[in-house]
């Protein structure tokens, strides 16, 4: 079924190209003939009209896809010249000894000029394609570089929590009996928080692997923004039970075009950052609004904020800020980079600004979706 459809569309586009080329020929030759008539009315020489036709063939060669049109329009140009402008007018016969030579010269000149123009056009196309290929190769190399960097950085950063988890567990196994309750509790808490950190990182890593050519591979459907926000908030409340997230949502149902699980991850990352860089007793605000064709989601906190000079860089991969989070552990520098890549793949934008008196506001947009209700 799909092959059939494909075949149909291919022949359709070929027919369209043919139609376009033919109409270009028709239009340009008609134009040349009309101009020729005007020239004639002003008693200009035959040679000027011949030049008009040569220009016409040149234009046709540039604007049509195949060399055939140059050949055909050269012939037609000669015939038209013969028909309209040589004595006797409006007939294909020509009285006058010089005319056969004129016709042949005109044909050859038009053909050569046309062929050259066509050649030039092709060369330009080839050069463009070469440049594009080069660009693609560069991008590929850049991606490889990115992947290598990512692996290196990740392996390094994952080693720390893993060391802590395995070390703590082995202490419990070998010296469990000699430790007092509070020491044991400290170890349990450490193991737990280190593994939670790992879980968070691995989530982001998994999503990062879906980036190809700087773009995220998406499965876009029309989702209800409310559902996405609620899922994200549920997740954040589970991982940070002590923190309170104030959600401000409108009463209307906002359908957005999105890959739901990825947008959930974006909101989770933004909230995680807000949690990390603000005091435990401050609130985190999440609000949703609608601006024409876009939904705007904003996460804000009253934390330490981001220094002005780092605002540009926070969306770069592997960038970790100079200000330390409350647990004094820096992340992999994946979170915001991932957010940006996800949002721009959705056709939205993400931006960061200052909150008053202190803190950070991050907002991003998503395109509004449309739904036909099958009632």
């Amino acid at each position: 079924m799909s092959i059939f459809k494909n075949g149909k569309s291919v022949s359709k586009s070929a027919a369209f190209a043919l139609l376009k080329d033919l109409s270009v020929c028709l239009l340009v030759l008609t134009g040349a003939t009309l101009l020729g008539c005007i020239f004639k009315a002003f008693h200009l020489a035959d040679a000027d009209i011949i030049l008009l036709y040569i220009i016409a063939v040149l234009v046709i060669s540039i604007f049509t896809s195949k060399i055939h049109y140059c050949l055909i329009s050269s012939v037609i140009g000669v015939v038209l010249f013969n028909y309209f402008f040589t004595y006797p007018e409006f007939s294909l016969s020509a009285h006058g000894a010089g005319y056969p030579v004129t016709f042949v010269t005109m044909f050859i000149t038009a053909l050569i000029a046309g062929t050259l123009a066509n050649q030039l056009k092709r060369n330009i196309l080839i050069a463009e394609q070469n440049a594009r290929e080069k660009e693609e190769a560069a991008l590929l190399a850049q991606n490889e570089q990115l992947r290598a960097n990512m692996l290196r950085s990740i392996s390094h950063d994952l080693r720390t929590p893993l060391t802590s988890i395995s070390g703590n567990a082995s202490t419990l196994i070998s010296n469990g009996n000699t430790l007092d309750e509070s020491a044991k509790n400290q170890i349990y808490t450490d193991i737990y928080s280190e593994s939670m950190w790992l879980i968070e990182m691995v989530e982001n890593l998994l999503y990062s692997t879906r980036i190809e050519d700087g773009k995220m591979q998406l499965t876009i459907t029309v989702e209800i923004l409310d559902d996405i926000v609620r899922e994200a908030v549920k997740h954040v409340e589970r991982t940070h039970p002590k923190r309170s997230i104030k959600v401000d949502m409108h009463d209307e149902i906002v359908p957005v075009k999105a890959d739901a699980s990825l947008i959930v991850q974006v909101i989770v990352n933004l909230c995680d950052n807000a949690v990390k860089y603000s005091a435990d007793d401050t609130d985190i605000y999440l609000s949703v609004s609608r601006e024409r064709e876009f939904a705007v989601i904003t996460v804000s906190d009253n934390g330490i904020g981001i220094p002005e000079e780092e605002k540009e860089k926070v969306f770069d991969m592997f960038f970790t800020g100079s200000r330390r989070s409350s647990d004094s552990r820096s992340g992999l520098g994946l979170g915001l980079a991932l957010c940006k890549s996800i949002i721009s793949s959705h056709g939205g934008t993400i931006s960061i600004s200052e909150n008053t008196p202190t803190g950070t506001i991050v907002s991003f947009t998503l395109p509004i979706g449309e739904v036909d209700l099958n009632e």
């Binding site: 879980i199 989530e203 998994l206 459907t221 029309v222 989702e223 209800i224 409310d226 559902d227 996405i228 609620r230 899922e231 589970r238 009463d251 149902i253 359908p255 739901a260 699980s261 959930v264 979706g369 739904v371 036909d372 209700l373 099958n374 009632e375």
Partner: protein, 227 residues
């Protein structure tokens, strides 16, 4: 102490230990299986009340295990799978699983899922068919009327159908595909997005904006909770 018998099917030993320790601490009885065929055998011989089933088993696909068990038993099945396998989860739910847990899951999550299933077991034992009552919600099947807190709601035919479907399967996660097939019959393009909008409006009418009654499972489907 409760007398529920749970069958834990999981080939990974640390995870199995985690689940069984949690069960033991909370007074459940349990049996374990590390392979699919073993799981099918044990569920036939011991008649567990709840099954926790990992989808990645060494011998047979977890989804096939659900198929075999469903051939003779309605025992509630909670599947366990990794996050990236949404498709597997959906197939398993369509095959008759009741709920799912996503790795990595917390102990609290596991216990919460078990409680949801238990409420369902207790309630489904003798429910009248003319009426459905769940928290503030009451559906009168005879007059096709829906009430919250005794006040009648005005639902469109589709919304009513959706609500009845969820009520009939309360406690169970229903996939988008299943809901669309049951409500519209023949799925057309965009039916998933319109389902989302219908659910959102239905939820508004039920005044359930915090999803206490109807849960959204992103990428999977919906579930009505037993309150």
């Amino acid at each position: 102490m409760n007398e529920y018998l749970v069958l834990v099917v999981e080939d990974d030993k640390p995870i199995r230990n985690l689940i069984t320790t949690t069960l033991k601490m909370n007074g459940y009885r349990f049996i374990t299986a590390g392979r699919g065929d073993e799981a099918i055998m044990l569920s036939a011989s011991h008649k567990p009340d709840i099954i926790i089933l990992d989808l990645g088993l060494p011998d047979i696909d977890g989804v096939d295990v659900i198929g075999s068990i469903r051939a003779w038993s309605d025992v509630p099945i909670i599947i366990v799978s990794a996050r990236s396998d949404d498709k597997d989860k959906i197939t398993a739910l369509d095959k008759g699983a009741d709920d799912y847990l996503t790795k990595p899951f917390s102990v609290e999550e596991l216990l919460a899922r078990l409680r949801v299933i238990q409420r369902r077991i207790i309630k489904s034992e003798n429910g009248p068919l003319t009426e459905f009552v769940n928290g503030r919600l009451r559906i009168d099947y005879i007059s096709n009327c829906v009430y919250t807190d005794g006040e009648e709601l005005h639902l469109t035919p589709i919304e009513y159908k959706l609500l009845c479907l969820l009520a009939k399967n309360a406690g169970k996660v229903l996939t988008h595909k299943y809901i669309i097939q049951s409500v519209w019959g023949n799925p057309v393009e965009n039916s998933e997005s319109s389902l989302r909008v219908f659910m959102a409006t239905l939820r508004k009418k039920l005044n359930d904006s915090n999803q206490a009654l109807i849960q959204t499972h992103i990428g999977i489907g919906y579930r009505m909770m037993k309150l």
